[in-house]
Amino acid sequence: MFRILVRRFIEVVIFVLVITFISFLFVRLAPGDPVLSILQVDDVSITNEQVNELREELGFNEPLLVQYGDWFTDFIQLDFGNSYLTNQPVMEMIMSGLPATIELAVGALLVMLGIAIPLGSLAALYRGSWIDQISRAVSLLGAAIPSFWLGLLLIDLFAVRWGALPTMGRDGFRSLILPSVTLGLAITSVYVRLLRSSLIDSLSHDFIRAARSRGISEMRIFFAHAFRYSLPPVITVFGVSLGSLIGGVVVIEVIFAYPGIGKMVVDSIRSRDYPVIQGYLLVMAIIVFMVNSAVDLSYRYLNPELRLKERKHGKWS
């Protein structure tokens, strides 16, 4: 287990190194001079002196590798510098947007669970029935409908035509409903099919027959035995498809003008506010690392076989 975590950590470090170096190069070699774009914010005419001064101050006159080294030491200490646009520290911006984004992601996950668990379970229990057909149709369509389009249609229906829910911003629970439902529906399709096939697989195992022969109720067999056994693959996919959740968050936040870090990064991309983009990247890398590690740990909890194997082969194997 410990080994897996270390390996994963090394992977993340390599990844961050590669991506930051590429991004660093892009920023330095980008068509627009960052120095000019900082100075141009105020709409005042710029003198050559000012440019050179700022260049010196930001260390742009050093060799590229030295610059990268300096920048990277700050970067790993979570000091991403200040936004070109607002001059606010990037870390502060991220920290103020993160709670909103986490709320949205959790809301979406709850919507997803609320649909995927009943639909997947019923489809597995009544294989080939109409409910199975419906679950298949839902997941096929769900995978094909662009989330932003779905969001626009929902806005039109619930907010504009019926006036039932707010269309944008973040103002209490009601403003969270539409974005969460949209994002939730967008990520549901994978899990419905997966839970179905995983449940069908686990229901065919011997331990289910053994439980039946001991006279345990069907309800208990399903939830306590089959369901638990079918979770690991679902959780694996959760780890893998975390990206589509984070990516979905970005699009949904833009559509609903929701003040999270997804909207923040799109705004900074539009205004070429590089420090914010880079900060966002590192924070995402940390989140992905933490979630994937949690996924690994949850296997051990859910699958007693793994724990037994580890005990047999020694702790660190």
Binding site: A143, S244, V266, I269
Partner: protein
């Protein structure tokens, strides 16, 4: 026995229909210029937001441009961009995978480290951030997609090559004096094609969704390009008065993505490569 055959022929029939539809879509996308009646970029403010008519079967948009024309050209752009980035990812990924799988050793280890690092990170985010660093625009978005996608193909090819290389028929071919290149071409390549094709057709839908979502939020195709996501962005301010302007491009995306997903599923069953593609 009879049942199995029946089931198979039914599947083959469905497959034919699917391929025909897909081929039609591609043909329409490729040959739009033959059927177009209107200039897709011609602004005609006198005809803005016209309803359905003989002249404009799907009406006109907020600048008086013919919607059907733009929708068809959008197929060319949206599907074309998707295919282009997929093709580039395959062209880069496959040789890397072959070399890593065939040579093994240090090259393979370095490659695997890089690939794992890339795969440990959600590709949507990388695409967004990379296209952001490069600056908004469709070329940069496509470049970003290629950068994140080629790894998948390289890894798939590498694992296929490694499994096949150890099989007896390859050893037999080697004993008979076939060169590495010959083995590659004659024996390994047929295996690779199936796997790569399945992964690519499953990827196409995802890439199209990614391109159109990012175009919608302004990070991909820029107006006036009739990319479907960008068209939706154009239609957004008018969606209370002209709802249909938002419906058409959305349905077009759903249709194409649905088609490529179903096709991918069928190909996966047909080539029987479920395991390798999913892992």
């Amino acid at each position: 026995m009879e049942l199995v055959i029946k089931k198979k022929s039914k599947r083959r029939w469905r497959m034919t229909v699917l391929f025909t539809v897909m081929a039609t879509v591609l043909a329409v996308a490729a040959y739009t210029f033959l059927i177009l009646k209107h200039d897709p970029a011609l602004v005609n403010l006198g005809e803005r937001l016209w309803p359905v008519s003989m002249e404009h079967p799907l009406g006109t948009d907020h600048l008086g441009r013919d919607v059907l024309t733009r929708l068809l050209l959008g197929a060319q752009l949206t599907v074309g961009y998707g295919l282009l980035s997929l093709f580039a990812a395959v062209i880069i990924g496959v040789p890397f995978g072959v070399i890593a799988g065939f040579k093994g050793g240090l090259i393979d280890r370095i490659f695997m480290r890089i690939a794992d690092a890339f795969l440990s990170f959600p590709d949507t985010i990388v695409a967004i951030v990379l296209s952001g660093l490069l600056g908004p625009g469709i070329e940069n978005l496509l470049l970003a997609i290629v950068l994140v996608k080629w790894v998948n193909y390289a890894r798939l090819v590498r694992s296929t090559v490694i499994t096949e290389r150890q099989k007896d028929y390859v050893t037999a071919a080697k004993i008979n004096g076939l060169s590495s290149f010959g083995i590659m071409r004659k024996h390994l390549f047929p295996h690779l094609i199936g796997n790569v094709l399945v992964l690519a057709s499953l990827d196409l839908g995802k890439i199209i969704l990614l391109i159109s979502s990012l175009s919608y939020i302004g990070l991909g195709a820029q107006p006036p390009a009739p990319e479907w996501g960008a068209m939706l962005n154009d239609a957004r301010p008018y969606f209370q008065s002209n709802m249909l302007l938002m419906i058409y491009p959305g349905l077009a995306i759903v249709f194409v993505v649905l088609l490529s997903n179903i096709l991918g599923d069928y190909l996966r069953d047909a080539f029987d490569v479920k395991k390798e593609v999913e892992s």
